[in-house]
Symmetry: C3
Subunit: 136 residues, 3 copies
């Protein structure tokens, strides 16, 4: 049984940005040599999330639009007295910082239209990503 | 250490439908022979999600009602110019396509009232489900 | 390869309450002796969720405020005819009962500002928490 861990830096360039990190995950799996098991992706930040969906520019805008409507910036949050980013923390609570995907025959279990995204909600910043591969 | 993987087809019969897949997961665990570890369930689709909650018909309607209010169909989404299902993609982003559950003594760690649901948001379709069991 | 499992009781003291359970998870990891792998935390309940974010009292209030606005109590839910807690079930569907975190060098992969919270949506109650550590 093997456990392979890789830490990666991702630079975001605007306040809200959804970065396709699928290639980085695929590369870590190749490096790991693990054939069958699980891949966990985790961001050690409180204003970032991870999600899986289609990499279509309109859809990425739509996801931002909906999250901005459900959790608007500056809506009188108590946390904004500490730091003006409560909306980013709350969106990160809804879009979790952790995702787990099956790995079979050295291949990630993603479907044809699925990509993995790091969702920046309080950028631009340099973010860290942990890719953990566990299996045989 | 064992890794057992099973791919299952699930047919949905309406545009929105929450299908209780607990029995299929329990069956895969039995087949795996794994006693203690983790079970990851994953749907390789961008308009489907997985959630755990009670199998009560009223509650299933309520969850649909709330998601339909938070992410209404046809609300001027950019992705709807490509394919008229942006609402399904966005709901799938909120209700993640992956869930992980502990396994102890050959038993899934679900509580008395918990069932596992495949949430179809753009049916009817035939969907695929990956059940990955890892442990000893 | 080791699998270590621990079941913990957590008492909540009001209807909605976010309890920081990070110390309990860290303690379970120490007991497990596992150095590298994955930690899965799971609540076997349908009106509780788990999330990771900052332990700041204003932010905790903000998260409650937003969830209460998105999924208000008593909004004519069908499940409320069975038991007056549909809002808690639906919030638990959005804030999942399962979270997975990487473990490296005996250390949980949490970032500086991240804490793990049990989100009670239908308390006060005694809740159960399963911490599963898997790895080498």
């Amino acid at each position: 049984m093997k456990v392979y861990s890789k830490s990666i830096r991702v630079k975001t360039s605007s306040s809200v940005e959804f970065v396709n990190i699928t290639d980085k995950v695929v590369e870590a799996i190749r490096e790991s040599g693990v054939k069958d098991g699980l891949v966990n992706i985790f961001v050690p930040h409180t204003t970032v999330g991870l999600y899986i969906n289609e990499d279509e520019s309109g859809l990425k805008r739509d996801i931002d639009t909906v999250l901005s409507k459900l959790v608007p910036q500056g809506a009188g949050y108590m946390h904004d007295r500490v730091d003006y980013n409560a909306h980013a923390h709350i969106r990160s609570t809804i879009i979790s910082p952790s995702i787990t995907i099956p790995l079979n025959g050295h291949r990630l279990g993603l479907g044809t239209w699925q990509s993995i995204f790091l969702a920046e909600f309080d950028g631009p910043r340099e973010r860290r990503l942990i890719i953990q591969v566990i299996g045989v």
